[in-house]
């Protein structure tokens, strides 16, 4: 499992820059960020170094931040890489709450998922998928 920093933001001008500036001033490097938005609010999902410490720092600075456990899986960077993984999840009965993907080098991509329920990591490994480790993505 990977620790993802999650921050609740109002969907208003300047909120995201304020968040990223606060993280920057903390000297924290971010490795990936994905935004979910609704009319009123947004959720920033971030991979960064020392996610627990950053969440604490943000809460002390008046943000609503938490750390969420997500799954990260290596797939080959070729047609069908993601589709194979999703087929497996579907057949194994794992429902995906949200997900996103990014390229990791030329040959591979990392697919990230939030899944309701337990046991996904073991099931994936058993099926031959290679899981990303926290240290592959960020400094602990």
């Amino acid at each position: 499992m990977i620790s993802q920093l999650t921050v609740f933001l109002q969907n208003e001008k300047g909120k995201l820059s304020n968040l990223t500036r606060t993280i920057a001033e903390n000297g924290t490097n971010m490795h990936a960020m994905f935004l979910a938005d609704t009319q009123d609010f947004g959720i920033a999902r971030i991979f960064c170094d020392e996610p627990e410490a950053v969440a604490q720092m943000l809460n002390a600075s008046g943000f609503r931040a938490s750390v969420t456990q997500v799954n990260a899986v290596y797939v080959p960077n070729e047609p069908g890489g993601l589709a194979d993984l999703l087929d497996f999840c579907d057949q194994a009965g794992f429902n995906i709450e949200y997900g996103y993907c990014f390229k990791a080098g030329e040959a591979e991509a990392i697919d990230v998922f939030k899944i309701d329920g337990d046991g996904i990591d073991a099931a994936l490994e058993e099926a031959g998928f290679r899981l990303a480790k926290p240290e592959d993505i960020y400094a602990l």
Partner: protein, 435 residues
Amino acid sequence: MYHQPDIETMPREELEQLQLDRMKWSLRQAYDNIEFFKKSFDDAGVSPDDLESLEDIAKFPFVVKQDMRDAYPFGLFAVPMKDVARIHASSGTTGQATVVGHTKNDLKNWGDCFARGIAMVGGTDESTLQVSYGYGLFTGGLGGHAGGEAVGCTVIPTSSGNTKRQVQFLADCGTDILACTPSYALFIADTAIEMGYDPANDFKVSAVICGAEPASENMRQEIADKLGVQYCDVYGLSEIMGPGVAMECAERGGLHIAEDQFYCEILDPETGEVLPDGEWGELVITTLTRECSPLIRYRTRDVTRIVSEPCACGRTHRKIDRLRGRTDDMLIIRGVNVFPSQIEQVITGFPEIATQYQIILTNKGPLDHVELQVETEPGFQIDEVRKLEDLKRRLEAELKSNLQVAVEVKLVEPKTIERSMGKAKRVIDNREVTA
């Protein structure tokens, strides 16, 4: 246990006789010394001599807040200025300030009224009372202070503000009883927690005496739990005296009115008819001992009811129930009457939602629009849009079914809603008047 046992546990018959004697005196005090009351009694065709029973008070005309504004500053004083020991004034945020005078005896009686509440939470001359109400023209600070002195407490007059210092005094000075507004009590508790304390275990404080603004049952519980204290609700208003008109004993079934000093009626606010005990309506108060500023049948605009069942604490004075709202606070939204306290009640049924909230009224277009801003509790999982949207929808549905008015819920970031040091500003009315 009691501050004035002979008065607080006086048999009803004796107490009612005392009230009648004092009411006759108070009517005289008002009629003989204040032009306004002479004229209003004469216009209504009644004289102080017409009062033969307590119920006869219903023959007398009302006095309302506007009458007090019109009499600004000293038009309703019944004693010469040399006998006025102090004046207090309402904030005047909704109009001309109202000025109320107190003689030396008035101040002593006031101290005794508040002192009864201190005894209700177990306070004695060994206790330390921290008064975190604002000191000044507002009656909270000096009212609580007088109560503490009447009991013989060690009084710490911190006044409101400088919240970290408030916490420091709680931690270092062994405060037993904290007196402040409920929103400030919560703010102090949260600040203490942020500073790394566990107030319920780390602090000696065993009671809070909170008043001057409405607080829902859940908010009281939150204050009681976070600070680890007995919650005592205090009722009062500057026009009548200040905090201490009624105070809540440990039985928590309502607030004992200081009936030796005040006579309370409940009125149908529409018809002006007096309602029997137990029915909800507007509280109307007649002062029985006030020398400088006696008021006969003052319409408080507070909505409550009288609880007349005997109380297990042994006090014979009847109680008022927790205030349902203030007729002044009543919002008319799309023609429907809504009290902010009703909204607060709904919010506090959602443990995921923090108790701070703000209501924003606008009317872009023909209809009133209500936006309710709330924050989620730190423990609530914010990671999934679906859960946040679901929370928002459930809260909106609950509000709609309770208020009969559609409310749009907006989840906001922490600290967006201003924390209050005095009376919390819960409603922002940006509606333009078109009529």
